[in-house]
Symmetry: C2
Amino acid sequence: MSRRNRAYYLRRRPQGTTTGVDLELVEERVPDLGPGQALVRTTHLSVDPTTRVWMSDYPAYMPSAPLDAVLRGVGVGEVVESRRDDLPVGATVLGWTDWQDYCVADDSALISPFTVLPDPLPAPPGAFLGVLGHTGITGWLGVDIGRPQPGDTVVVSAAGGAVGSVGGQLAKLAGARVVGIASGPDKCRHVTTTLGFDTCVDRTAADWRDQLDAATPDGVDMDFENVGGEIMDHVLGRLRIGARVVLCGMISGYDALGSGSSAGQHEISQLIMKRATMHGFLVFDHADRFATIVDELAGHLAAGRLHADETVLDGLEKAPDALGQLFTGANLGKIVVRTRV
Amino acid sequence: MSRRNRAYYLRRRPQGTTTGVDLELVEERVPDLGPGQALVRTTHLSVDPTTRVWMSDYPAYMPSAPLDAVLRGVGVGEVVESRRDDLPVGATVLGWTDWQDYCVADDSALISPFTVLPDPLPAPPGAFLGVLGHTGITGWLGVDIGRPQPGDTVVVSAAGGAVGSVGGQLAKLAGARVVGIASGPDKCRHVTTTLGFDTCVDRTAADWRDQLDAATPDGVDMDFENVGGEIMDHVLGRLRIGARVVLCGMISGYDALGSGSSAGQHEISQLIMKRATMHGFLVFDHADRFATIVDELAGHLAAGRLHADETVLDGLEKAPDALGQLFTGANLGKIVVRTRV
């Protein structure tokens, strides 16, 4: 019996907003395994803002996703065949599944090999792509770098997203006053009511700048920045002396990467005026701390101190839509594509 | 006998490049001193990129220079009348002289009062506005913040300027490979030959980006940024992982401050990609260290390890031109207006 694989191939670099037209869903035969290989059936695929970065030819922290290859992605899956002892059949694993039903796991992964998740799973599989995975860890790291103090005012953009929601809740646990920025009144209400932020600015409102000013009357001590663009510029204009900007993502500019049409940041000089510091960081650099961080996040979850949202789309063919949702702000929390329903 | 004062009043906020048309040279009577006041005759006036910031209504680290008041400025002068013991007649002093011949010194200074310089002066008066003054200290602080290590590649923009020339030489003393960026072949030659930078990129050359790439084959560990704009963007694109950007000035954007027409920075996302840190800083925050820093700079000067350039323009009426030179890159080193020739 030969298994059939469905896989999204990247056919060209997106121009502007990605709609999936740059991807082709190909059906193909799953290859036979060679020595040192295992076959992983994807069950949950992570869709991240950085996916859009990989699709471009912008010089980023990893090589661009190659054209005419399956699009890069992280997922959770099940080992269904194996010729390696560390990935036994039946194990639930986390790793670079890419955008496809079946993935051959071997030692060629760009950053890290597949890891076997605990059995039984202490949380739903999607959590290992979210609050207990790279986005949750990213939220934790941003707060670790920005070190909010009791009484500080912290602004978190994309506050309803996978990273911002965790970062904001952890800043709140650290004693800060936390102001979210999110898309639409419903999401803003969720950010304050369920996630416990002190307030949330609706960036789709015409008066979002006034809302942000009113929400930060004494200025901003720390900016957990996930969006960039005009939102970040306005926050930069409200920094207090000695503020920290934790630069986690700039999703508002990702559609323009490589096109030369970015609107740019116009208030970087505020870093001088306010003697502020901006810290770029990447989750992958901190792999030696992942286990400790995940333990802490799991503890917060178990104690009810941390709420994790997940938006699940069913079916691999929903992956391009899922990616699009990140750019319209339609998703709540971590967005995961469940490939095996 | 009533003394006459000539003073540059700021009449309007400049639009674009400042040409002096926004300033009016007024001749007026010097006021009589009240209790606790001294009269300082300006001998040397400092002209700085930040002068242009003060002239705008951009929210900066100090209030904008008020309209219809004498333009703010730091200078060296001589006390010619006094009703305070700490500023005796005959003393050479450093402080906020503003752009005028005579200034009344009292306790109303925005940041710091006048300080009496040593007698006899250990260096020419202009040095206390340059290498042994705020620009030299700024160069020292930028290197202190960026901490270049032996073998690091450090890029210094405005390398022939008052701050960059000192910063680059100190980075070289710290063992780094230092690449300057300056305007024109003559200044570039000076930067390498006299200031001892390893190489210098001519930003007026059509191929300056290629020059910069060739000069930084392994990337950039530290950027001592004085210019901003497209030069900074190109340097950001060459950062190494973990690089430090010391954000001292962004002169390329100062003409557009408050006009909403800034070209913006388009490569800030490189701070994420390279896990880099950007540190804004201001010399005024470090007043408690000035004496120690000046001692160190004076030691380097005396030992011939540090070269200080000064461009002197004679006559208060040259001050607007002096300011303009900063924006065309015409000056070499610290630009000082000698008001008493």
